[in-house]
């Protein structure tokens, strides 16, 4: 009798041990399903439909309404030039990603060598690091507000500062938001400030983890700080650099909040027209504007779907290159 109940409680405990983790995980899995998995599946589906403002309500009432057609038209538009604006968007996106990426990956390298190695005073070094983090930490809309002020030709400081260092007035644009090469330069700089701190954080942690003996030995042998940077630090930063480049490629491809906020708020009128006129319509913003200012939800999803596929492929590649352990490592870095 007693042994039977023992077996019973043992079995119960075993069952409880199996179920308990899932009870703990259930809320998390539900939320992840709602915010990540369902939307990804839905984006795939919507990309193959002609969902727009016309059949949207019917679709919400019934996901399988005959008013929504399954079609490949969206992809024909994207890949076979039926949407003439796509090639322009692609050009701007390449310009955007490549330029901001080089700030984030390479400029940040020199930045962190300067801050973490050349400057020996801990207080100054910390002060500069925090200053570089300001654009990232500050709420996005405030960043947009500050830039809108800074570039204002009458009230702002940008044109005045440039004139102070000797840039002739004729070379300055009337409007940094709208005049074309200038608006694209602004787009790169604004996002570069936010991204530079990413590289800085990753590299600084890597530089601090280089054994001091290695550097001291070189210094004793008469190497200058520049030689140490070139021959010891940079070669050791190969992996962190690859990490920054691959991680940032994906986030830059998908990022458009700052462009939307700065051009949308400052341009007056709708963000879509302004972004087109200013030549800052990047791929993800194009998808957003197709959906929420032209209400072509199906087509917009197809444009997003391209990014979803690119994202999944890139994430797969990260796992292959870096492995699970290395990907987790950046979560444990101290500034």
């Amino acid at each position: 009798m007693s042994s039977e109940s023992e077996v019973y409680t043992y079995g119960k405990a075993k069952l409880a041990r199996k179920i308990l983790p899932w009870l703990f995980l259930a809320p998390m899995l539900t939320m992840i399903f709602l915010s990540w998995i369902a939307p990804v599946i839905l984006t795939v589906y919507l990309g193959f439909t002609d969902l727009s403002i016309k059949n949207f309500l019917a679709f919400i009432r019934n996901f399988f309404t005959p008013e929504v057609h399954i079609t490949l038209d969206n992809f024909r538009k994207i890949f076979f030039g039926e949407d003439p604006y796509i090639s322009e968007v692609l050009k701007i996106t390449v310009l955007y990603v490549v330029s901001v990426l080089s700030i984030n990956a390479f400029y940040a390298l020199f930045l962190s060598i300067s801050i973490a190695y050349f400057i020996k005073n801990e207080f100054v070094s910390m002060f500069l690091r925090v200053s570089w983090l300001i654009p990232r930490i500050m709420p996005g809309i405030i960043y947009a507000l500050l830039w809108n002020w800074f570039i204002d030709p009458d009230y702002g400081m940008l044109n005045k500062m440039l004139m102070l260092v000797g840039v002739p007035e004729t070379m300055l644009p009337h409007s940094w938001l709208l005049d074309k090469p200038y608006s694209q330069i602004l787009m790169i700089i604004v996002n570069g400030y936010v991204g530079a701190s990413f590289g800085m954080i990753v590299y600084t942690a890597a530089i601090k983890s280089i054994p001091p003996d290695l550097i001291n030995a070189a210094l004793v042998d008469g190497a200058s700080d520049f030689q140490v940077a070139k021959n010891i630090i940079i070669p050791l930063l190969k992996w962190p650099m690859l990490f920054v480049i691959s991680w940032q490629t994906l986030s830059l491809l998908a990022s458009y909040e700052y462009i939307l906020m700065i051009w949308g708020a400052g341009g007056g009128g709708g963000y879509a027209g302004i972004a087109k006129a200013a030549g800052v319509m990047v791929w993800s913003l194009y998808s957003y504007s197709k959906a929420f200012s032209e209400y072509a939800y199906g087509y917009a999803s197809a444009i997003s779907l391209v990014l979803v596929v690119v994202g999944i492929v890139l994430i797969y590649v990260y796992f292959r290159i870096f492995g699970f352990k290395k990907l987790m490592a950046p979560s444990r870095i101290e500034v």
Binding site: W22, S131, P139, I201, L253, S255, L260, A291, F292
Partner: protein
């Protein structure tokens, strides 16, 4: 004699290197910060001044820029919604996101850190993959889901829907961070409690939880701030002005008030930044650690 010469030569060379080094530091790390410092200084100076000279030198102290706190804002015929209900919306969104994120991710993080179950490693990989995946491109599908749930155009309920979505987007990262805090607690402490006859739940509540309080503090502040400054979800899904949050109000006001009243905009901006300033001045170390761990781009 010859030796002295060598020393002298290497000394002047070292001096040259030092000069070059600091020149590089100034060019690379200091000069590009001038615009950022200027902007931040301007925000503070402008908000209390009727005029600023060269962007940062205040002239004429005034509180007129802060009139939105006690008087309705009018622009021609258009009247902007009162600031306090909008602040309430923002606060509700931020607190809701923060509460949900903490509750869900503490449970999930504990299970991932401490429990053995099938599929633990794949689940952790999946969470890291989600962290890398840019959620912002899912906005259209989330719009459809919001509509399907009947939460679109429903006033405050729309904000509740946004709260759910935002919390869901923050949860993978928060879970990961809190898992790190759980990992740092030695098994022995929990073990001791269990041996002394605590139930697992009891051990969790009275032994483990107090140890991860800093972690909980960190993710609650972090998710509060991210809900507080959430822009794009509210901008896209809320069309009724009464349910705007502060970032969306500021967005619309920049377009109307630039050229006319930078003082008002800066005061409004500073008002909105107060929580960020408070949290960063009180728990800077903790937050920097999270910002560093939780960086997305």
């Amino acid at each position: 004699m010859a030796r002295k010469k060598v020393v002298k030569y290497s000394r002047s060379r070292a001096l040259l290197w030092t000069v070059a080094k600091y020149l590089a530091v100034v060019l690379i790390a200091v000069i590009p910060l001038i615009p950022i410092w200027t902007m931040v200084l301007w925000l503070f100076m402008q908000s209390f001044s009727s005029k600023v000279i060269m962007g940062i030198v205040p002239a004429g102290l005034t509180l007129n820029n802060w009139r939105f706190l006690w008087a309705p804002l009018k622009m021609g015929l258009k009247e902007y919604p009162n600031i306090w209900p909008i602040t309430f919306n923002t606060l509700a969104l931020a607190l809701g996101v923060s509460g949900l994120v903490v509750f869900v991710s503490v449970l999930g993080g504990y299970a991932l850190s401490r429990m053995e179950f099938k599929g633990r490693t794949p689940l952790m990989e999946f969470i890291i993959a989600l962290h890398a995946f840019p959620s912002i491109i899912l906005l259209i599908a989330l719009f459809v889901i919001l509509n399907k749930l009947g939460l679109y155009g429903k006033g405050f309920m729309t904000l509740v829907g946004i709260m759910l979505i935002k919390a869901g987007l923050e949860i993978p990262m928060a879970t990961w961070i809190i898992k790190g805090f759980f990992d740092a607690i030695p098994w022995d402490i929990e073990w001791a409690a269990l041996v002394d006859g605590c139930s697992r739940w009891r051990a969790w509540r009275s032994v483990i939880l107090p140890q991860v309080l800093p972690g909980i503090g960190a993710i609650s502040i972090f998710s509060f701030l991210s809900g507080w400054s959430e822009f794009i979800l509210v901008f896209t899904y809320v069309k009724n002005e009464a349910y705007y949050t502060l970032p969306v109000l500021i967005y619309h006001m920049i377009g109307e008030y630039k050229f006319i009243d930078w003082g008002l905009l800066s005061a409004l901006g500073l008002f909105f930044t107060i929580p960020t300033l408070i949290f960063f001045s009180t728990s800077q170390k903790l937050l920097l650690r999270i910002y560093v761990g939780g960086i997305k781009r």
